[in-house]
Amino acid sequence: MTQRTRNLLLLAPAGTWFLVMLIVPLSVVLIFSFGERAPAGGVVPAFTFEQYANLPARWAAFRNTLFLAPVGTIAALLIAYPLAYYLAVKVDPKWKMLLLVLVIVPFWTSILIRSYAWIFLLGGRGIPALLGWIGFEDIRLINTPFSVLVGIIYGYLPLMVFPLFVSLDRLDKRLLEASSDLGAKPWRTFAQITLPLSVPGIATGCMLVFILLMGEFLIPALLGGGKVFFVGNALVDLFLQSRNWAYGSAVAVTLVVVMLITVTIYMRLISRLGAHREDVSLM
């Protein structure tokens, strides 16, 4: 047996699996997206661009997603960065591991249950009640874009902290010391040394969170009260409510294409910024 045959044999199970569970389903979605809705739901085979012509009817969902996904990603980044910096650079090494694990622990409770906690916290008997107590009456938080944003940040913060921490932790502390010894102001050290060196972490973290947010369904469904509508919610409705498989397939194909385009542009930008490709391509 040559090495090549052996390698191909080793690849066979994974290849078959990808074929049956990825290529076939995605092809079916692509084919259906050119079909027509059957009168009672489902799909009739056809070759028409009607479904794609209809896409503007879901423009609002795409707009919401394309707005809240980057905003959520950047918000998570802004909150996570100082924490990751603190953990990587400032904290006593004795406590480093423990504090890091503590960031990840909440991630082990399913996102469903964590969102459920926020339903209570943002609901009338949670934070608004506390605010009412100190004089801010009638504040409504639950079922608003704000509550969805809180859920998103909360849900994905650990995913952002971790890659940031990894890249900041690799940073040679002597560089920082040298910089301050040479009389550089702290913010200058940060802008010229720390920040550029942490770009791979920023890139990975943002991409992870962004990809997950683009397909998000649960957080808007639970914390948005059905009023904050993402592409994910539109897809669920199209397949599980109005049963318009043809149109739903077209929306799904469009979502994938939009993601491929944004992520590819994003990777280009990042690699131009000088990040190492291997670090980014990890996800």
Binding site: A57, G226, K227, L240
Partner: protein, 386 residues
């Protein structure tokens, strides 16, 4: 072991049910009962002699049956009794809309044995070949003559029986009167007007095009079932205008109404009954303009994996003594005269369960076309994403 399941007399059982219904809904009881069920099963497995002896050979119908139904819609103790009697465990899947049920069945992967469709869906299931014709001889408890025809006729299509009636109900509104000076409102017009006024941010509408669009149509006095483009355009304008004032678009309104986050909601009568029982300040009202009246059925989907168990379960639930317990739990009226006779006096005269005839007469049954109309589905999507 059996003291809880076979236990107390029917009288005592009714009282028990009433007592916990006043303080709480079915869930607690559910957990109580199912908890005991699990204990029995564990002990039974360890000590063969303790296994509950089925009333007829367990092998007959298999060991499980899968029921697709609605939230807060059954008496869990009845399922325990069914398991006791037949050896088949009941697995319950819960759904929020008929569209969702239809979607899962059309996707071919349901694997359900019994499901609970609403009147206007049955012709669609028949034309799509998704429903099994019923053999009435396997349902000895089904006494067709005892059912009010209004709530039973949708179960037959072209003379063939496909579904047997479960219960019926209305779609009205529930309002927390404490926030409206102790007064309820009386119409869909008021529903949408008060939402844009003093109830802003406190109102819920269903995540279900049939009722949400239907009731918006009633605001203008149009038919609940309208698929007329101009009328739907009016309804859309109203809904999009109201949307910023809504608390949520969701068919699961009980938690929010109970917690006080929501004050007003579109509401199915059984939920209205459950809410009103626990919180008397919540009133259930039928819109003066009309609205929906519906009836739900038991049916078997095509290719059900446990056909015999499916028949056994439906037959069991149609037993008037069992059905009466169901009614006490879910708070919807029955169309079965035999079951009605077993209900306590107070329930038979309950205005939420059995509204006065003049309130019922403007109500409309949903139509098959209303459910499957693509324009209504798209309208709902535009409303939700607006």
């Amino acid at each position: 072991m059996t003291k809880f399941n076979d236990y107390i007399s029917k009288q005592k059982f009714m009282e028990e049910l009433y007592r916990y219904k006043r303080g709480s809904v079915t869930r607690r009881h559910f957990l109580n009962v199912t908890g005991l069920g699990a204990a029995t099963a564990v002990l039974g497995a360890a000590v063969p002699g303790l296994l509950p002896r089925p009333a007829f050979a367990a092998g007959d119908i298999g060991d499980r049956v899968i029921l697709a139904t609605w939230p807060n819609y059954h008496e869990p103790a009845n399922f325990e009794a069914f398991t006791e009697a037949t050896g088949a465990h009941v697995q319950v899947n819960v759904f929020g809309s008929n569209e969702e049920m239809l979607a899962k069945l059309q996707a071919g992967g349901s694997g359900w044995d019994v499901y609970v469709p609403t009147n206007y869906t049955i012709t669609t299931y028949v034309s799509e070949g998704l429903i099994e014709p019923l053999d009435a001889s396997k349902l000895p408890n089904y006494d067709a003559s005892a059912f009010d025809a209004r709530y039973a006729e949708a179960g037959s299509v072209d003379g063939q029986l496909y579904a047997v009636p479960k219960d019926w109900g209305t779609t009205g509104l529930a309002i927390n009167t404490a926030h409206n000076g102790g007064k309820a409102i009386t119409s869909w017009k008021e529903f949408f007007d008060i939402t844009r006024d003093s109830f802003s941010g406190r109102t819920m509408v269903h995540d279900y095009q049939l009722t949400t669009i239907g009731n918006a149509l009633k605001y203008f006095g149009y038919s609940f079932n309208s698929v007329d483009e101009a009328e739907l355009a009016d309804a859309e304008k109203l809904l999009i205008d109201v949307k910023p004032h809504l608390f949520a678009i969701s068919s699961d309104y009980q938690p929010s109404m109970r917690s006080g986050d929501a004050w007003l909601t579109m509401c199915w009568s059984g939920d209205g009954k459950q809410l009103n029982t626990d919180m008397p300040e919540i009133a259930y009202v039928l819109g003066a303009e009309g609205g929906e009246i519906w009836s739900d059925y038991y049916a078997i989907p095509k290719g059900a994996p446990h056909m015999d168990a499916a028949y056994a379960l439906i037959n069991f639930l149609l037993d008037p003594a069992v059905n009466a317990k169901e009614v006490l739990a879910h708070g919807y009226p029955t169309a079965d005269a035999n079951t009605f006779a077993l209900l306590p006096e107070s329930l038979r005269n309950d205005p939420i369960l059995f509204p006065a005839q003049e309130l019922l007469s403007p109500l409309e049954f949903g139509a098959a076309q209303t459910l499957t109309d693509p324009n209504r589905a798209e309208l709902m999507a535009r409303f939700k994403s607006a």
